[in-house]
């Protein structure tokens, strides 16, 4: 009986991985793998890395110290930096791998399966909003209806305290208070610090900068902040506005007190929660400066889901599966809303779809179809040529009628 239950769990585990992988590929991500062993130096040299006590260490026969892969982002970034030059500017990768960390909580497994994406691209609200959409989409695919994505900006807190010259110890203490939204203790803590009163006021407000986007952005308008903090807020707001176009409004919670454990995040950071599960099932953010630790700037955004958490959280759900193919949607800025609508609709019909602002440098070799939306015309291009279309219905008919495209799977 026990083994039956176990087998059932494993099946669920596999199904969730399959569902997530399929969704990742519909956004143009390709699967990669990283080595199970990494050099200890890789992690000890990166400034804002994983706690050294949490890593599982191994010694090889030459005496070199290795660790069992504690994360995927750091080795992947290093590898890409080393291969720099031969690589395109934009890359989308996903992985499904075990990561190994030993925390001091009892009952916690050392090895955990993570499914995650890494999107190497210039920092832009468009790219970030799409990544957040993917996170939400993936969780919905797994079968959750009440998905909430909490979004913050690492730059907000970092820029806020940048000029305060706090000691590392005090900064750590302040972070703990902020992470707990500790309304009770933040006042007394700040009282003892000799810092700019306007910064103090903002820090005191931090626990309340949480909730529905409109409310939070309105509250933010009344705060006096430096230019760099303002930039972080503007970026966050632009990202939210595009996420809203994706139809994510009711799924988004803005949380400016969000500080991720991994110190390398530099821009948007986010966490995903689902109904009836007490812990985040997904975490991610933008890490533009991580690659600089290896010598080159290669900005990126990514997130990872904890498969084991999803297995627990779906204990009472039936899982669905999806299939997919390739289309690229290019749009002029004025057509963004329409492009997003089309992208959403096509993805709903299980096509692999990329959507991005139109640039001259773009090559669409990787996709079977390219859709171009300009001020004047809507066009669909494939090997056989370019055709205009008037609306989404016509577009669908054209895609179905051409050869090499499978019928709907729904």
């Amino acid at each position: 009986m026990y083994s039956e239950i176990l087998a059932h769990e494993h099946e669920r585990h596999e199904k969730i991985i399959e569902t997530l992988s399929k969704r990742f590929t519909t956004y143009g991500y390709k699967r990669i793998k990283t080595s199970a062993f990494e050099r200890y130096d890789l992690y000890s040299n990166v400034r804002t890395s994983i706690n050294q006590n949490e890593m599982i260490k191994v010694i090889d026969y030459t005496g070199e110290l290795l660790v069992l892969r504690p994360d995927v982002t750091i080795p992947l970034t290093q590898e890409l930096v080393q291969m720099n030059g031969s690589l395109p500017e934009e890359m989308r990768y996903y992985y499904v791998q075990e990561v190994f960390r030993q925390t001091f909580r009892e009952n916690e497994e050392i090895g955990k399966t993570q499914a995650g994406v890494e999107y190497f691209c210039e920092s832009s609200p468009e790219a970030d909003a799409e990544t957040i959409m993917l996170a939400c989409h993936a969780l919905r695919d797994v079968g959750f209806s009440d998905v909430k994505i909490e979004i913050g900006h690492a730059g907000f807190f970092n820029e806020l305290i940048a000029d305060l010259s706090l000691s590392a110890e005090l900064t750590a203490e302040l972070k703990i208070i902020i992470q707990a939204k500790n309304v009770v203790e933040i006042g007394p803590f700040l009282e003892n610090l000799e810092i700019d009163p306007s910064v103090k006021e903002v820090l005191e407000q931090l626990p309340f900068l949480y909730g529905a986007p409109e409310t939070v952005f309105e509250r933010l308008q009344n705060l006096r902040v430096s230019e760099s903090v303002k930039q972080a807020i503007n970026y966050l707001q632009q990202t939210y506005e595009i996420a809203d176009l994706y139809g994510l409004k009711k799924h988004i919670v803005i949380d400016l007190g969000l500080i991720n454990r991994m110190g390398y995040y530099s821009g948007i950071i986010f966490q995903g929660y689902v109904e009836k599960f007490g812990k985040p099932v997904l975490m991610g953010g933008r890490y533009d400066s991580l690659s600089e630790e290896f010598g080159i700037k290669r900005p990126a955004i990514g997130f990872a889901c904890e498969i084991d958490s999803l297995v627990k959280a779906t204990a009472h759900k039936e899982l669905q599966e999806r299939f997919s193919i390739d289309i690229t949607v290019l749009y002029e800025e004025s057509r963004m809303k329409y492009a997003i609508d089309i992208t959403n609709e096509l993805r709903e019909r299980d096509y692999r779809v990329l959507s991005k602002p139109m640039k001259q440098t773009f090559h669409s070799k990787d996709s079977m179809y390219t859709i171009q939306l300009t001020e004047l015309v809507n066009e669909l291009t494939d090997e056989e040529g370019t055709t205009e279309f008037a609306d989404f219905k016509e577009l669908l008919e054209m895609i179905v009628s051409r050869k090499g495209v499978p019928e709907w799977t729904i």
């Binding site: 909430k148 707990a180 009770v184 626990p207 949480y210 929660y273 007490g278 812990k279």
Partner: protein
């Protein structure tokens, strides 16, 4: 219908908290002092109250078994958990203190034995002062330890000081102020934001009336 699950320990703090909620018309008429029920619902069936041991409240909340918890700051300090701490209920006020015989000078001793329910907080406190210590973890009647010579001092919460006085002990140092806190599960705060903010508002209103 989804309940808001609230965890607290039975006792004075729980009774005060329920009083606060009455101001906002949240009532638990099924509840009596003698009742042994571990789960009760409010009259409008919106809140599910579960009674657990005080030290377990943060555990229930961190794991999401309860959305909200009410628990003393001393418990949170001894066993920090990844939760939000959103309100000071200003009840169950007391001080976490070092106590011992009046003639004890803790700074002069090369080595100090400390009996306490709070080994983590105590160790951190004495470490910061550069005092070497040995911790003896006890679960009750802490005051007895110095009397029978098992420890030099104790670290415990002190409300009125009566127990100390009757046993010939005095407060030597104060470590921290303690009172009941309202803690919230991070996922619940995202998925049930409105319900939880309403609950906190109800508590606040009760708090103001009683202040």
């Amino acid at each position: 219908m989804d309940y808001l699950t609230v965890a607290m320990a039975k006792g004075r703090t729980a009774e005060r908290a329920m009083k606060f909620l009455e101001k906002s018309d949240v009532r638990f008429s099924n509840f009596t002092d003698e009742s042994r029920k571990l789960v009760i619902y409010d009259d409008q069936q919106k809140i599910k109250l579960i009674f657990v041991k005080a030290v377990d409240v943060p555990v229930y909340v961190e794991n999401g078994a309860a959305d909200v918890g009410i628990v003393g700051k001393d418990v949170m300090m001894e066993d920090p958990r990844d939760v939000y701490e959103l309100l000071d209920l200003e009840i169950g006020r007391c001080k976490l203190s070092v106590a011992g015989f009046p003639e004890t000078h803790i700074e002069n001793k090369p080595f100090l034995t400390v009996a306490t329910k709070y080994p983590l907080i105590s160790k951190e406190y004495f470490d910061k002062k550069g005092i070497r210590t040995e911790m003896i973890k006890l679960n009750g009647s802490i005051e007895l330890a110095p009397l029978i010579g098992m420890s030099d001092v104790i670290v415990d919460i002190v409300e009125t000081g009566t127990t100390l006085k009757e046993n010939g002990l005095v407060v030597l140092k104060e470590i921290a102020d303690v009172s009941a806190r309202l803690i919230v599960n991070k996922a619940s705060y995202a998925t049930k934001t409105a319900d939880i903010q309403q609950f906190i508002q109800d508590m606040k209103e009760g708090l103001e009336v009683h202040a």
